[in-house]
């Protein structure tokens, strides 16, 4: 169960990046998770739930994009999606392949952060105060 340390790491990176960008809070953290990354999506989601409580990013949501395993198939001489895990076989011809091209990802891809709105460039009419 190393998902908790990964969740904590995610929160650290997100908080740091948010600050760097002048944001006030992190709304969503986008992650790419390869099927061979060694991290279980459900476990990461529940670890994240636990980790964000009480942190500066208590409101942040986690969105995970699954990355399927892609292998280079020597028979087809092309890149193919692996048929089924854990067996790494070409999805097209079934030849076993150890050359993994994608599926190891464990990546924070993007953040949705709240940043202060730019001040209106035109005078706000009286009586129409923004809440």
């Amino acid at each position: 169960m190393h998902e908790l340390s990964i969740a904590l790491k995610l929160l650290d990176i997100a908080a740091e990046e948010c600050e760097r960008q002048g944001g006030v809070s992190v709304e969503t953290i986008h992650v790419r998770l390869g099927a061979l990354s060694g991290v279980v999506q459900e476990a990461l989601l529940s670890a994240f739930e636990a980790a964000r409580q009480g942190s500066r990013l208590a409101q942040a949501a986690l969105r995970i994009e699954d990355v399927p395993v892609r292998v280079y198939c020597r028979s087809c001489q092309s890149e193919q999606t692996a048929e089924s895990l854990p067996l790494l076989c070409c999805g097209r011809c079934g030849t076993a392949s150890g050359e993994v091209i994608a599926g190891l990802e464990l990546e924070l891809t993007a953040l949705e952060i709240a940043v202060p709105s730019r001040p209106a460039s035109f005078p706000v009419p009286e009586g129409s105060e923004v809440p």
Binding site: H2, L10, L85, P86, A110, A114, P116, V130
Partner: protein
């Protein structure tokens, strides 16, 4: 305060810190001329006895040392110290795997230039260690005949990150009706072309082949150390 949502592209490896430390370690190992091998397996697969015999065999010819990771106790370090080589224990507390920073801390200012081989025994776990690079030159994954032939199919990721699969406790193979062909097929299914060997640290079966693999892989050359 009014705010708006902005999408910021980050694109970073979540474990970038670990990767950076692992890279530093790998460079330090290379510059010191020490060949580093990490050993992973589930708990009870026989890592410690395997290393004990390996260290004993290698120290006839090489300068060897070991780092041992465990959640608690220093029992393994004490056992390995019987091979009469320098051993340091890393106790991880509640952490189920070693990270590059733990290795770095345990090494401290150890003069690695005095070593030919350094072995790192990871915490018994076939899941989490797969994700953490320790800067090692080779990773060896062990699984024992008592664990079932399909272990590799259950834990493909660790087999993916390893360079050699070793089936241990071969002396028990007959008693547990271990099917070696099926085990070999399991390994090849999740990692085609993966080198593998069968071994019993207790009887010495396969030890020579393992030491030859190590010699070849590390480029240390020379004859395999006497058994």
């Amino acid at each position: 305060m009014n705010s708006e949502t902005r999408l910021v592209e980050v694109r970073t490896r979540i474990l970038k810190d670990n990767d950076v430390t692992a890279r530093e370690l790998r460079q330090r190992f290379r510059e010191s001329g020490v060949y580093v091998v990490s050993v992973v397996s589930s708990p009870g697969a026989g890592k410690t006895l395997f290393l004990e015999k390996t260290l004993t065999a290698l120290r006839q010819r090489y300068r060897v040392a070991a780092l041992v990771g465990d959640l608690a106790t220093e029992n393994d370090a004490r056992r390995l110290a019987q091979a009469d080589v320098p051993v340091r224990q890393i106790t991880t507390g509640t952490v189920c795997h070693l990270e590059a920073k733990m290795v770095q801390a345990a090494l401290g200012d150890w003069n690695l230039g005095n070593l030919d081989f350094l072995f790192i025994e990871n915490v018994g776990n076939l899941v989490c260690p797969a994700t953490y690079d320790l800067g090692e030159a080779s990773r060896v994954v062990l699984f024992s005949v008592t664990e079932g032939e399909d272990k590799p199919r259950k834990y493909p990721t660790i087999f993916h990150t390893a360079d050699l699969a070793v089936i241990t406790k071969m002396d028990l193979a007959e008693a547990v009706e271990f099917d070696a062909d099926q085990a070999r097929a399991s390994v090849q299914a999740v990692r085609p072309d993966m080198p593998m060997l069968e071994l019993s640290a207790k009887t010495g079966q396969g030890m020579a082949t393992w030491l030859e693999w190590l010699d070849r892989r590390s480029g240390r050359g020379g004859n395999p150390p006497p058994r």
